[in-house]
Symmetry: C2
Subunit: 208 residues, 2 copies
């Protein structure tokens, strides 16, 4: 019994409103009242789904991670693992306004996680997942023993997130072009040359 | 119990209180009222020096930058430029609690700068200064033409700040030891081998 269009779940509508406010005006403007107004729901409805500000921020962050995963899964992968990794990591950089908004949410989450153990735990889980994926890709480009690959993957992710942090938090510092160039420069230095014989299915990116 | 030292300027006392609150409990807890209580001054006194929350945060960030500069200036520099650069960049990592508190302030500042143009401008200036200093050091280790050195310096700083961001915002992710090892690993990949003949006075670090 397919319907033409199903109304979106209220929780998703609220999460979107929340994301927009965090991205545009910063975490300081995220309040139950503002989110309710932007989502067009009652204050009590927001409180029902997100009883605390940390619950709201966690939902926004989780949604950002889901969107990035979705884009990564849709990335066209070729036979060159190094090139695939670059394509996937570009999804983490603020190269256009939607990605810049996502990075602003991630930075707001990180800032709050720096003083909130529950959020810091989630941040650790996400960093671990992404690092594992990068380390798995490095296995295809002669990245050395497992421990060394993982250490290098940590550095690669730190570089990408550091570039993203600098890009969204500063003015006249980088353009999207110079940001993409900086990623390429970093990968040239941090990764061994690509192995064109590696199987494309084994690289970073959950394609399920 | 006699105090021989001159009393500290009120503005410095307030800035210290502000830094402590931002570092320990996050930017959300920085309010005129809390800062006044922690500094032991009247609310009106805080408002006199820092009329807005952004003014308070800018003061905290500026003080962190001053402290880092002071430590960098005190770093013992040897003849190996690469080693000197590593020593200086370690001052930016949260390898002990005072540095972790500084990084939390920097992350809070960056998060707010992501939606506040005036703060983003200051962030751009600071990033530019540090990048210039790193690029100057790279000139001594055969870092290629000037534009290439500057691009690589941007990547080095992004890596260091990304590692610092991940360290303070996550749990069970890094130890101070693994963080220092990650910096060394990153510098091994990002920097050409050191030139032991370079003059120690020419490296990163304002020693005035």
């Amino acid at each position: 019994m397919a319907r033409v269009s199903t109304p979106r779940p209220t929780k998703d509508v609220i999460t979107d409103a929340l994301l927009d406010i965090t991205a545009e005006r910063g975490l300081d403007h995220v309040s139950v009242r503002h989110v309710a107004a932007a989502a067009g729901v009652a204050i009590g409805t927001v409180q029902h789904y997100f009883p605390t500000k940390d619950a709201m921020l966690t939902a926004a962050f989780t949604e950002v991670v889901r969107r990035i995963r979705e884009r990564v899964a849709a990335t066209v992968l070729g036979p060159d693992v190094r090139r695939n990794l670059a394509a996937v990591l570009r999804e983490l950089l603020p190269l256009d306004e939607p990605r810049a908004a996502e990075v602003r949410v991630q930075v707001a989450f990180a800032a709050r996680a720096a003083t909130m153990p529950a959020l810091a735990e989630l941040q650790g889980v996400i960093l671990g997942e992404v690092t594992d994926a990068i380390a798995a890709a490095l296995a295809h480009v002669d990245g050395g023993p497992a421990a060394q690959r993982r250490a290098r993957a940590q550095v690669v992710l730190a570089t990408v997130d550091g570039l993203a942090l600098h890009a969204v938090s500063s003015r006249d510092w980088v353009t999207p072009e110079s940001l993409a160039a900086a990623l390429d420069d970093a990968l040239d230095a941090l990764l061994p040359p690509g192995d064109p014989t590696a199987a494309p299915g084994d690289v970073v990116g959950d394609r399920s």
